[in-house]
Amino acid sequence: MIGKSISERTSFLFSLVFIILLVGVYTYLSHLQHKRNADDRTIPTWWQLWGGIVFLCEKHDDDDSNNSDLLAAAMADGKMDGAQVSSKKGYLEGRILWEASKATLGRLFGGLSIGLIGGVIVGILMGCFLKIDAALSPVMYFSSRIIPTAAMPIFFKLAGIDMEMYVAMIVFGSMPIVTLSVSRYVQEFPDELRFKSYTLGASNYEVITTAIFPYVLPKVFELAIIMIGPALVYLIAAEQIVAGEGFGYRIRILTKATRFEVVYPLIVILTIYAGAITYVLKYASRIMCPWYKDKDGA
């Protein structure tokens, strides 16, 4: 029957079987590929993938790891399989995974935080005051339809290629959507609750901060989770074009060098980061909004 419920154990078993099946298919394809070409790296073996992870975690010289052409050339020649001693003193500095994570996550957090906070503030004002809504909504609608990756050269020109450019691009990509969504949520705030707040003695500012903001907060968390995907798309695309560090940059140069045993772990790690941020946001929503039940009952 459609929609028939299953137990958690059955659900887990089905998931596990499918993952094992995928791993089996990958292992078989990798085996076939390596029978044809023992040095192949497009479908790396599990051992090669482990080597890729070790490579990401080892220290590399600043000059080598930060110069795309040098690094790509060195990799293509196979001279960088092993670890090189980094001149950096810190434990984490010089390790590709750390440097890429620091750069990408820093840009992501910076952009998303500003986009979300700005979007929530402007959205609440638009939802509460119709004059502000009338003034801003046409601009917000238009901005929300612009594809940030298409406007990337403009960002390079206006904001350079430093941190500001990435943050500006994520803000530009996320803020109009967050603003319009929050404005809609605020307009859905029941009139009866609004009127009741006034009869209880609340001022306009108190209605916003003690009634409307808590009402939209769980939906803001949901929005933040939804916006992680698009924000990462804008960021990785920009990093692949102009960055000197970050996941996008690393994936580009390693792909150029056909080092897929490193590229795949990078993509998986990036996915894990996105999943971890999603989990943290869901957890924060559960702690901060214990009354809220979403469609899944979470």
């Binding site: 009866e192 209880l200 003695g201 108190e206 009354w291 809220y292």
Partner: protein, 308 residues
Amino acid sequence: MLESILKIEGLSHWFGENKVLYNINLDIKRGQIVGIVGPSGCGKSTLLRAILGTHLPSQGKIIVYDGETSKVIDGPGRDRGIVYQRYSLFPHLTAQENVAYGLMVDQTSIPGRTFKYLAWRGLRKKHMQQAAEMLEKMKLGAAFKKFPPEMSGGMCQRVALAQALIMKPTVLLLDEPFGALDEATREEMQKILLILYGENSDAIKAGKQPPYTMFLVTHEINEAIYVGDRVVGLSQYWNWKESGHASCPGATIVYDKASPVFATKNERNFLLFREQKEEIICTVFNPESCCSYKEYTTVVDRTKIIGG
């Protein structure tokens, strides 16, 4: 003679071409529980919203009296409490916090709560204690920490009532408050209102001001008679042709009489007010009825408690 607490003077209301209310005049005394009944679409809720201040009248005015001062209603205000049919509780607050919310926003400000945090903590404790006492009075002792989605309709409505009552409003407006409840819960809630009425009676006997004045909009005639001490019938079926109108200019008051008052310890006996109920049906709900609205502008005083 009890003092006037709410006066409606020549109130008419229309939405474009749609004329809803016509020349409503009503004088509500302190301590009265006024039940408003009328056919569907006669404008009962519009009248309540006009008193609340969210839908200001197209013509006429509403004055709230509080001791020496009086105020023409121009928007929702602290002097009027409201209980809606759909509970309307803050979903992010527990039952206790919902009841304490009004005390917080009324007695403190955001800068005060932020910059005088320790003083605010002390006051907050006091507010929560007051909220707990009010919830106990509503027989909700076990639900202090529950959020609205975790409570039944009856529990939510008691919290909503406690939330409004704790603020001691000049007039409490009840917009079909028990319409969404089952029969048993509805009866329990009605008894709570009768308990409050009993407190009014005790206050009068002790020579004090009765603390609760209520304006109850309901589609249940039994409820209006049972809970209220005065029933006001609003209807579009009246002799507007005789008044020289080409079409109905809106609903007006066609019935305004005292109703018997019941003590909570007595069983509800509908036979006791069958006669009044039939009179209301005949006068207010009958399209053939042609009452003159001018007959019903008198002020009704409290009646003695039946079986009390």
